[in-house]
């Protein structure tokens, strides 16, 4: 029988068909695995230490101003009937609070990550498309139109519930108040400011809002959000942008201002300070808390103890496990090896 005629059914002799693809088969032994485990553990501990130390070096000052306690200065403002209420919180620093200092406001028990809340806006309207000024998306219901059937701009619950407490910081120098300049520029994301939210090109901006009404909870319409800076109005108002970026969890902070100007650029010197709060935002009904946070930042952002500790714990766990493995290995394997 000749070979040629007998090969019609012979499968191809390729590495793939014969399952002989060149392959690397790591030959692992205790000698590799246990040290490998130790290395992972040590690396994690290293990261953990770095994070922890960094985090420790960050100064944080938190001031709860909800006004739950009757003796606190903001207690008077918790009464919903009181309008335009101001309260002052005094604090003193005994050493320099290094700059740049970031000022946050914090809310707790506030579910910005609630699904229907997150959906309650009109993305197209917020890009400045005038068509959606007159016809806001139904996703904004019940903040789509007001009682007179006028379209609400910006519509939806997120915009409507925008945080509207205001903060002013004064250093008390020789019983006189020196205002600490708070910088509200560039606190929102570049993409939010330039892409996701755009004002209509109408000039002046006010005209774009003809035949619309302001969100029900807002004291002023969108084009008058910042009375001091005409460019910081409409949908690209920095505070508005920060608010519209929904929080991840019910307890959150949002960046309010940075202290970057003048003599305070290097930080807040030791001394007494007064924080004057324009108290407008009600949280008492749902047991929420409001606070102001002063913090400086590092390469990893604000203070974050958790991550450093977590790294330390997991790293230690790896090291401990590698010791356990060593024991297991010694106990069960060495007799066999010999």
């Amino acid at each position: 029988m000749s070979k040629e005629e007998n090969t019609a059914n012979r499968p191809d002799n390729t590495a793939f068909t014969q399952q002989r693809l060149p392959a690397w088969q790591p030959m692992l032994s205790a000698g590799i695995v246990i040290p490998g485990f130790v290395i992972i553990g040590v690396a994690f501990i290293g990261i953990g230490v770095a994070l922890f130390v960094t985090s420790q070096n960050i100064q944080v000052l938190e001031k709860d101003y909800t006004g739950i306690e009757t003796n606190s200065s903001c207690f008077k403002c918790t009464n919903p009937r009181v309008k335009n209420c101001n309260c002052t919180i005094n604090f003193s620093l005994d050493k320099l609070f290094e700059g740049p200092v970031f000022v946050y406001y914090g809310l707790s028990n506030y579910f910005q990550n609630y699904r229907k809340y997150g959906a309650s806006k009109d993305a197209a309207q917020l890009t400045g498309d005038l068509a959606y000024f007159t016809e806001p998306s139904t996703s904004c219901v019940p903040y789509q139109r007001d009682a007179k059937d006028k379209p609400i701009v910006p519509c939806g619950s997120i915009a409507n519930s925008m945080f509207n407490d205001t903060f002013k910081l004064f250093q008390i120098v020789n019983s006189g108040n020196v205002a600490v300049p708070l910088d509200g520029k560039g606190i929102a994301w570049w993409t939010d400011y330039n892409i996701k939210y755009r004002n209509p090109t109408t000039n002046p901006l006010k005209n774009a809002f003809n035949d619309t009404v302001k969100p029900i909870f807002w004291p002023r319409p969108a084009y008058e959000l910042d009375t001091t800076n005409a460019a910081n109005n409409g949908f690209i108002n920095q505070d508005f942008l920060v608010w519209m970026r929904r929080s991840a969890l019910p307890n959150f902070r949002k960046l309010y201002r940075r202290i970057t100007e003048g003599e305070y650029a290097k930080g807040l010197p030791a001394g007494d300070y007064a924080l004057v709060i324009g108290y407008n935002y009600p949280v008492k009904a749902f047991d929420g808390r409001k606070k102001v946070v002063f913090s400086n930042v590092s390469w990893m952002g604000g203070k974050n103890q958790f991550l450093g500790i977590a790294y330390l714990v997991i790293g230690s766990l790896c090291v401990v496990m590698s010791i356990v493995m060593l024991i297991v290995y010694a106990k069960f394997k060495f007799p066999d090896e010999e």
Binding site: R10, Y104, S108, N113, Y143, S157, S247
Partner: protein, 1173 residues
């Protein structure tokens, strides 16, 4: 196509076929549109394809939506269109669904195109059809009922035909039915004498064109061996039966031309009616997987319900105080809101249902099957026949086989029979102890018909024959040359024999080589060339072979006018029919003993001179019997045959060698080491089976056999385990039950088996006992019993059964077993047709099971577990997140991430794992058969491993959520950054686990893992591009998130920690595996091959044909062992070798139950057997 609809109309003869009436049938063609059908007669086209251009899309969609998972996904997609509950965008689930439907549809389309191609090949075959006055050639598809068709020699029959006439005498014609029943011998059909007489006139075209008979017969059915009808012609009715019908699928042989009338065409033909659908077999993994998916589905429903309740509580307790949220409560009703949230959560948790798993599963199975088809080491060079996986859904089950049930003849043996020895008048000629290769060729040049393939060395026999000195020797070979049903075929001057059994072929061939040439067969005439002298024998009667009779006879009138009955059959049957005082009986019996020991198949040959009066009387009764009712006639015939086949004169015995296939002993030894229980089921005698058992390593030299009465006692006793020891208490080596059992083999005969199967409770005991034993031999079993055994094992043990066989008699068994394997061997294709896998040789089984099976099992189980793990730990995070967002069905992820996660980011690497993974190489798997053991025990995929996997999943998902939670709590980072962080952690976790899982890194694995990993970052960046946002703000609202998140070290560190911590359990398991399994892997990898070398040497010993001495040594030690059954004489072989066991004395039942050597123990001292090497 309905199968066997035996309605009343079927049985009545209402199917009318008019000859030469083409117009009528062409018009009456059956057509169908959707489910409507009209017209009675099918055309002669086969259509096995399903789709046309128009119907492909609707049909494939219809079929695919039969799968519950697909329907479910579709419902989810529809639900996502409802704004009130749409927690995700429509494409998150639509993209995976469309992907799955497309892949599946393309796969179906490809198979359908292949079917279409093979259909059109068949449909365009040419056939001659009578067109008014002359024959013209048309394609098969253009034939229709009522046509008169001409078939030439070696052409396939295009449809079911009524044979009208043929070129041969009496309009006989021969057909080969290999495609129908796998038998390669020729069968003859004969036309009615009326059509023969009227239509054979020359030229036949004229008379055929004038033929205007009408056939009335049954409606088309699937009964291949029955036909009822009559032909009405010239006002007379002629009864038709199966002998007049040529079936589609048969091939015309030995006949120049045959003419037939088409009765059933195309889909109506019996062969097409009887090819049922392949039974869908599902694997263990399949079933468990389905249960798991149902479990997951229930979990989704339950969780959604709980989350909805939580949402209701949140709405009524918490959110109503938050003005921004309370306004959003639909209708201000928390209950309604909760109801909607239930559906929203079903959408959010939908990725838990692993729909893509099924399609990946299919693809993996197909590739694994291709690997089997492609494996060059499972291709038999000699016949150029590669292995074939015919069923592509059973691969992983190949790694789980616990019971292997094997046929003997043709499966373990070659079924290539060689005439090795014979005993004539008590004298033995030839020596089977010399192997075939070493046997000298005798000089047979004086015989022009000698094939030169006789492997027997007996010059003294040739001398006797040529000298015509010994009439009994001549008579012996005359008997061999006459008593058979072989058809001779002249081709290129050589004489070929077509036989239904290879035994007959070997016998007739041997007679030919020795000068007694069977030359031709006519209906009542057999021609022999005895040493060149032509002698014609008139054939008077053939008493056919049946498995009950176990003998056949032929009654002839020799040229001298004497009546002779030649009979051949199983020794037991013939010996009891001899005339009293037959000479050489004792020496022939001794010869038979020695033949059986050397594993030769034996037959006895006898003759009877029949007195003329007896024949006359006998033939008269026979003619009378023909008119009797069936049942009565059978009894009369049996008695008649018995009368004739008595008073025989013993001529001698033949010994045929059926050699073991190459590599059978190693394969069996290897499979036994791999923990498989091997059962050999054979129709052979117990002795032959036991001997084959020893040679094929099924039994060790020191195995004790348990059978007959002893087995029955053991089984009848209350606790089989116990009393076996008491019944063998004398045997010192059976002290330890466990080890004794491991060295015991059961020998069960067919009748005993029937008894055990019927007796309640016995089956369980038998299987229980067999499980402890080394192996089981079942002898003299019928095809039906083979299947019964499989059923018994399936019923009483949880293990996976694999049946392997080669012949039509194994089909039942092959179909019943979990996995059926067909040996594509000598006996036609029926076993293969019904099998799930086909192999050319038994030895390829080791590769199929130990390499392909083991790999498939590991790959697929790990794949399934990992796949579900990865989808679950990704989706479960949504639940934990729910606790912190008021159970509002807020998704943890970006829509695009969900859509891409299963399809793009994680699917390909794990799929490649399932393609390429090899924990140990093929060589190591074969060297260490113990590695196979976890499969049959189902160690890798059982409720325990699933529970462990789910626990790991739970842990991972908790870590994946709570580590980012810790970081994001009370921080200025927003929700979208959290989403990207958790996604990233997911990817880290899955890829880390893949790194740990994969032990065999091909380039593809590495590259695609990197690609998939890179894809996550690239696609995430792309979908968060400003440009896309400007196009569709609602779909790409994550604009700019990754830009900020990827630049934030905190996000990276969080994702890294969460991903690695989530993968820690996998890491621990991995490391402990390395630590604890190290000695094993060490052994696997460092195995030098001492054992295989030893095996090979043993095999060479067997193949080199020194068997008898091996047997002798084994037997001699055995002879020394105490016989439990009392003293038995040990007749001695002429060569002076003691024999294996004692032949049972002939007993009238023909069924020997108590084989004395069974139950005896062979001494372990057998190690002293002579060393040949």
């Amino acid at each position: 196509m309905a199968i066997g609809d035996n309605t009343k109309a079927d049985l009545e003869l209402t199917w009318e076929v008019r000859a030469n009436c083409r117009q009528r049938y062409a018009r009456g063609r059956r057509r169908s549109f959707l489910c409507f059908r009209w017209g009675q007669y099918a055309d002669n086209t086969v259509r096995s394809y399903k789709y046309s251009l128009l119907t492909f899309l609707p049909l494939t969609l219809f079929e695919q939506f039969h799968r519950v998972a697909n329907i479910y996904y579709l419902l989810i997609v529809v639900m996502q269109a409802i704004p009130a509950i749409a927690s995700l965008r429509w494409y998150t689930n639509a993209i995976p669904l469309i992907l799955v439907l497309t892949v599946r549809g393309l796969k179906d389309l490809a198979t359908d195109l292949a079917r279409r191609k093979s259909d059109s090949q068949i449909n365009s075959r040419a056939s001659d059809v009578l067109d008014s006055t002359s024959f013209c050639t048309v394609q098969w598809k253009d034939l229709c009922v009522g046509d008169v068709v001409r078939i030439h020699k070696d052409q396939p029959v295009p449809a079911d035909l009524l044979l009208l006439c043929s070129s041969e005498e009496y309009s006989l014609c021969y057909v080969e039915t290999a495609d129908i029943d796998g038998e390669t011998n020729l069968k003859y059909k004969q036309a009615l004498s009326i059509t023969h007489n009227e239509l054979t006139s020359e030229p036949s075209e004229k008379s055929l064109a004038d033929f205007d008979g009408v056939v009335w017969c049954e409606h088309p059915n699937n009964r291949l061996y029955a036909f009822r009808g009559h032909l009405r012609w010239h006002g007379e009715d002629h009864v038709l039966n199966n002998d007049h019908i040529l079936l589609r699928g048969t091939v015309l042989r030995n006949t120049q031309v045959a003419y037939g009338l088409m009765i059933y065409a195309g889909a109506d033909t019996k062969i097409l009616r009887s090819c049922g659908k392949l039974r869908v077999k599902s694997t263990h993994v399949d079933r468990l997987l389905n249960k798991m998916v149902i479990g997951i589905f229930a979990f989704v429903l339950l969780t959604s319900l709980l989350m909805a309740v939580g949402h209701g509580a949140f709405e009524s307790q918490v959110s109503r105080f938050i003005p921004a949220l309370s306004a959003l409560t639909v209708n201000g009703d928390p209950v309604y809101s909760a109801f909607l949230t239930f559906w929203s959560y079903i959408i959010v948790l939908n990725p838990l249902i692993p729909m893509a798993l099924y399609i990946s599963f299919d693809v993996i199975h197909v590739l694994h099957s291709l690997f089997i088809n492609w494996d060059r080491e499972m291709r038999w060079e000699k016949k150029d026949s590669p292995a074939r996986a015919r069923n592509t859904s059973l691969n992983e089950q190949l790694g789980q086989v616990g019971h292997l049930l094997s046929d003997k003849t043709g499966t373990l043996t070659q079924n290539h029979l060689l005439f090795r020895q014979c005993c004539i008048a008590g004298r033995v000629y030839g020596d089977a102890s010399i192997s075939v290769e070493e046997t000298q060729q005798m000089d047979l040049s004086w015989n022009p018909f000698a094939s030169g393939q006789l492997s027997m060395w007996a010059p003294e026999l040739v001398q006797l024959l040529r000298a015509r000195q010994c009439p009994i020797v001549s008579e012996f070979f005359t008997a061999l040359a006459l008593c058979h049903t072989v058809m001779p075929e002249q081709s290129k001057g050589a004489l070929l024999y077509k036989a239904s059994s290879p035994d007959e072929e070997a016998l007739v061939g041997a007679a030919r080589d020795l000068g007694w040439v069977f030359h031709s067969r006519r209906r009542d005439n057999l021609t022999l060339l005895e040493l060149g002298v032509t002698r014609e024998y008139q054939l008077l009667a053939t008493l056919e072979f049946t498995s009950q009779r176990r003998r056949m006879s032929i009654l002839v009138r020799d040229p001298e006018g004497g009546l002779k009955l030649y009979c051949k059959g199983a020794d037991m049957v013939i010996l009891e029919r001899l005339q009293a005082g037959c000479p050489c009986l004792e020496s022939t019996e001794r010869a038979l003993e020695s033949f059986a020991q050397t594993c030769l198949r034996t037959l006895c040959v006898a003759v009877r001179c029949v007195p003329e009066e007896l024949w006359e009387c006998w033939s008269k009764v026979l003619t009378d019997a023909a008119t009797m009712a069936t049942g009565e006639r059978d009894a009369v015939l049996e008695a008649l045959h018995g009368d004739m086949e008595s008073q025989l004169l013993l001529l001698g015995a033949t010994a045929i060698e059926d050699r073991l296939q190459e590599g059978v002993p190693e394969t069996i030894a290897l499979l036994r080491e791999a923990g498989l229980k091997i059962w050999v089921l054979t129709g052979d005698k117990t002795e032959t089976a036991v001997n084959i058992g020893y040679f094929s390593k099924l039994l060790d030299p020191d195995t004790c056999l348990l059978g007959g009465q002893e087995l029955r006692e053991v089984l009848r006793s209350a606790d089989p385990g116990y009393s076996a020891s008491s019944s063998r208490q004398g045997n010192a080596w059976c002290v330890n039950m466990k080890t004794a059992r491991a060295k015991t083999a059961l020998v069960i005969s067919g009748p005993e088996l029937a008894e055990f199967v019927q007796e309640p409770g016995m089956g369980a005991k038998l299987i229980g006992l067999a499980a402890q034993c080394q192996s089981v031999l079942c002898c003299r079993v019928t095809p039906g019993q083979k299947a019964d055994i499989v059923t018994l094992i399936r019923k009483y043990s949880s293990s996976i059964t694999m049946a392997i066989g080669d012949g039509a008699n194994d089909v039942n068994m092959i179909k019943t077993a979990h996995i059926g394997v067909g040996i594509a061997g000598v006996e036609g294709g029926q076993a293969v047709q019904n099998a799930d896998f086909s192999l050319a040789q038994f030895r390829f089984l080791q590769r199929l099971l130990l390499v392909h099976g083991r790999w498939s099992y590991r790959r697929i189980t790990f794949f399934v577990l990992f796949f579900i793990h990865k989808t679950c730990n990704f989706a479960l995070v949504n639940i934990w997140f729910g606790f912190f967002n008021g159970f509002s069905a807020q998704s943890m992820y970006e829509n695009w991430f969900i859509a891409m996660y299963t399809s793009l980011y994680t699917s390909i690497p794990i799929q490649l794992y399932a393609f390429f993974e090899q924990d140990v190489s093929a060589e190591s798997s074969l060297k260490s058969p113990g590695l196979y053991r976890p499969g049959p025990l189902n160690r890798l995929f059982n409720p325990l491993t699933i529970a462990a996997m789910l626990a790991q999943t739970l842990f991972s998902s908790l870590v994946l959520f709570f580590i980012p939670y810790g970081v994001f709590h009370d921080s200025p980072l927003d929700y979208q950054t959290l989403a990207v962080t958790v996604s990233m952690a997911d990817i880290f976790c899955v890829d880390a686990e893949l790194l740990l899982l994969t032990r065999h890194w091909t380039v593809f694995n590495a590259v695609f893992l990197c690609i998939a990993f890179g894809f996550f970052f690239i696609v995430t960046r792309i979908t968060q591009q400003p440009r896309l946002f400007q196009l569709a703000p609602a779909d790409y609202f994550f604009v700019g998130v990754s830009e900020n998140a990827f630049a934030n070290p905190l996000v990276w560190l969080t994702a890294l920690l969460a991903g690695v911590t989530a993968a820690l359990p996998a890491l621990f398991v991995f490391v402990f595996n390395v630590l604890l399994s190290r000695p094993d892997t060490h052994r696997v990898h460092s195995l030098a091959g001492p054992r295989p070398v030893e095996l090979r040497s043993k095999v060479r010993r067997i193949d080199s044909g020194r068997r008898p001495s091996g047997v002798a040594s084994r037997v001699s030690s055995k002879g020394a062992a105490p016989a439990s059954g009392g003293p038995h004489p040990h007749p001695h072989h002429p060569r002076g070798l003691p024999l294996l066991g004692d032949r049972p004395t002939v007993d009238g039942s023909g069924i020997e139950l108590n084989v004395p050597f069974i139950g005896r123990k062979l001494l372990p001292a057998i190690g002293k057997k002579p060393d040949h090497d």
